[in-house]
Assembly symmetry: D3
Homo-oligomer: 231 residues x 6
């Protein structure tokens, strides 16, 4: 099983706890929440997009035909990537609308993650590309943002994202795993999930949490026994 396959079974909540073991507290992107209910957990390498504030002479519908444009960026996205857009948290201009999202879906991009918002909500939902964002606004990106490039380090929701970091997103939001820590998080995350599933079964039979979660020696022994029996 690849690390990406493993990560598809590890909730983002658990990933943040694994990263905290390595001293990393800034890994969950503030504002990037699922646009719709029911998305599967997604995993992919980050393909970054960067916006700066609107400059009225540059951020125009005409800019959409330039070599450095959101259109060109989409054509550069590799299959399976997760596009992560730094919109500086701007909530009044939709970075992408239905047509761009349709094209991304067509190119087999895995998901779109941003600390900004999208537009054409109905059409974006119809395009079936999973989106994590802050919400919806009617105006186009050029109303408030100037697109400046792709595959650079970016900020997104209070996190630093570097190209090829790994993104995981689910109902609790979107997290970034530095690429050197992907194997660690995948391995530790799986074991942590196993442990938590045992804890859940203990809570269901009425065991109080102190001594159980985190475990004291007795709980550790009972967990070890349970785990041995399962394998």
């Amino acid at each position: 099983m690849t690390p990406f396959d493993a990560l598809r079974r590890v909730p983002t909540a658990t990933i943040t706890t694994m990263l905290l073991k390595k001293g990393i507290r800034h890994c969950w992107m503030n504002g990037a929440m699922p646009l719709a209910a029911g998305y599967p957990r997604v995993v992919g390498a980050a393909f970054t997009l960067r916006f700066v504030p609107v400059r009225e002479d540059l951020a125009t519908p005409e800019s959409w035909a330039k070599p450095i444009s959101t259109r060109a960026a989409i054509e550069a996205m590799p299959e399976g990537c997760i596009a992560v857009a730094d919109a500086m948290g701007v909530a009044t201009a939709g970075i992408f609308g239905d047509i761009l999202v349709m094209r991304m879906a067509r190119r087999n991009v895995t998901a779109l993650v941003t600390d900004g918002v999208i537009r054409d909500k109905v059409g974006v939902l119809a395009a079936k590309l999973p989106v994590w964002c802050q919400g919806t606004a009617a105006p186009a990106s050029v109303n408030g943002l100037t697109f400046v490039g792709w595959n650079e380090p970016i900020a997104c929701g209070g996190c630093a994202i570097f190209p090829d970091d790994v993104i995981v997103a689910d109902d609790d939001g979107a997290v970034v795993i530095p690429k050197d820590l992907v194997d660690f998080v995948a391995a530790e995350g799986e074991e942590h999930e196993r442990y938590e599933s045992w804890v859940v079964s203990e809570v269901e039979r009425g065991v109080p949490l102190p001594g159980l979660y985190p475990p004291n020696d007795d709980a550790k022994a009972r967990y070890a026994a349970w785990k041995a029996k399962r394998s």
Copy 2:
């Protein structure tokens, strides 16, 4: 077809792009989002309502019986209008509750739009008046706001709204069209929608966006041919 009929077929996302052609970037009301899913797109002339912060000696339940009150304002609303309330973005006092909204529905007001919040959410939804707002709070308007008048210029969600400007609201939020630009937006918006529906069909068959959206000469020619065939 009247301009209002035309606008009912033009998404707010498109309207903002048409207004940008006229240099207008402040037209989408920040914070005014649909209270429930599934509202139709609404169009109507703005009937404005204005609040200032609470003054404890004035903002009392007793004030509701005064000549300048939200009750009196509702009786002044013409059929078909869209009430737009400047709540200064205050999210802790509901400007209207179920009873006031029921009365507005009864008077055939088209919709309520505000950068503030409503209260009695269950009752407001039951009243069937479409509402665009920032959310819900339990306290009444007098908890945080003083009502001062109607049919004056107001601020709403970062936009200037003048009486008789035209409001359009849908899933992407609510926009204001200055009344002198209504015909322009209705006409341009329809053509833009036609063009985007052709673009969607192109994207569906795998055409990349650069050269298509916005169109280069080849795309323009293909679009012209498609359009000619349709009419």
Copy 3:
């Protein structure tokens, strides 16, 4: 009927108006909204929890085994209480996840209310404990918060909450009733609800609001007659 039974029939919107009669404007907790639709209205005595910002040497997974920990606090919660957590409005660290919420449900806690966020959203919903909060985040509380104690006065969503104040929460959010005012609010709230149900029937038959809500002498007489007939 106990005051708690009465309060279960009084909307939070009405409670805030009754408290305003006593000069209390700070009673609705900003940011504490239902995590899911369809919760019943809940009523319970406040059991408070207090967090301060993260101190990296203290806010660690190891801290979860300490005597002053969220785990120990849960074991101290009496049946039927409503746990109210002061998370200082922090939206980037989930104060509780699925396992803690499961344990609270198991202990027959009535609800959890916070100005912060929860994590493990899917699991929290599955645990069936009603939750009022600001939203969801993946990181654990120790990512951004240090737990310091329970049953102390706290801040929550701009309100002061003292242990044994009474909490009521419904679709419009969560309110706090100072314990000395519970009887007053329960009694006045019931009468107010009766009056509003008559107003609704009047609005349904087309009566305008001025003179009706608030009532002039004629409306008062008609209401008295209606009330007499009902009893």
Copy 4:
């Protein structure tokens, strides 16, 4: 001595405490602080100015020549008034610059108070008109604001200001006194100041605060004696 003369000797801190006796908590304008050190305390009737957000077709340098303009408003200001401008707290567009402030000074306006900012700081200081504001920005009002009128009720820094309310401003900021409460505040404020000056003398000789401020019976008696001796 007129109430205005009395108020010139009552600090804004004391005025807020007097207003609290009448249940008024919203009287200090958030964001309106002295632009320079050393202004005298100022007192005057409010002359209100109102801005809404920029509409690009209206908020232009050309608008400065219209009948409803900041220029026309200044000519309508009576001698001795305090101009209070509702800038919705916008900090990125200076409502007035040096030339407008010079003209206000020339017309014997007492002061300018706003929750927004001014521009041309050096020139504004040179014009010698005392200004309470949030700071300074280079852009003109039309960069972010549309002027819509004067002598209407406004919001300023979280307070409601009605024309002819009385404004007092000093080093602690600017407060509004509802016009019906001016006599009360002036009278009570003077007595409160007298009492605090006695408290200061007590603290200077080492008396602890409990029992002194607020006074117990003993302290009340000592104060009465001190006051009798002084008069």
Copy 5:
């Protein structure tokens, strides 16, 4: 030399860098800046004060005479301590005014630090107690805050402060040192200051920063030589 004496010579900027070596990033209190220029650097054990939001029935001038009051807290402050007040960042109600600050000065309190604001600015400055705060407001604490106790863990400006942590404040603001790390910070801080004074002399003679700050082997050797010569 005591650690406190040593810390009086270590800038807060350096202290934050020493704490980062121990993994502590949350140690500088956001919003707590010097009220006046020219204060000496202050060092003292934290004496904490805690406020929650206003509850109108509790936060009244009458509350000032209660056993749990700011007045009583001041009488409990030991000589030399630094009072640190959690005002939840509220900027619209001054936690202390001139009289309370005078009493603190009289009791030989070293300084007052808060993420809120003070009132009676002129009088507070006259009292000569150094104050780090967010600014000034005219209203009293009871206008927006309820005082609930002292010597408890608190939040202040995004930091956790525990009683007996050590506070250092200077022109760059106020920092908290966990009490177990005071000796470490004092010792490392002194050496770091020595090193930086050498770096300054290098920069003055035109040495570029790469290789110097942080030092490469050559720079380390030169610094060692300089240090040896000095001692």
Copy 6:
């Protein structure tokens, strides 16, 4: 006279008005204000610096020795440039301290402009490099920021800054002039200043503003006469 020489005589307030003639409203950097009083107006080509949020494994004191570091960036700054740093408005980590600013001064950099804050305030002031920023914080950049590069397009205070745009800063803050508009702004700005100096003389002799500023035909004629006489 070069355009830069001309711009040294044009206030930033006037520059924003000239840019508005070209439809540019986003040119004044929110948050970048003079650190000290009395700086001369500065003009220079923008040298951009870019930060993203802290990633704990990258933003460490060790990072200061890497090839992409603030140290290396300073060595790349050309004489006379104005360094503009995108700190994403973060106010809790000082991007530069005294030593880095000393080195910039030594390299004859004209000024530092940022939407963030500096540290070591006393030392920065002593270094005599003019600084426009949001304020001061004790922690180093690595406490909250990761440096990622220089001479890229950046955001600063809500503006887009491209390398070689021209920056002008004075008491009203800092503005960016797109490089293609520098000649226009310099020429128009000078004439505008001349006109305003005449307006000031008119206001001084008591002329009302309507008809004067902006000028009607009569005022235009009088200004033309005044101008003719001067040259």
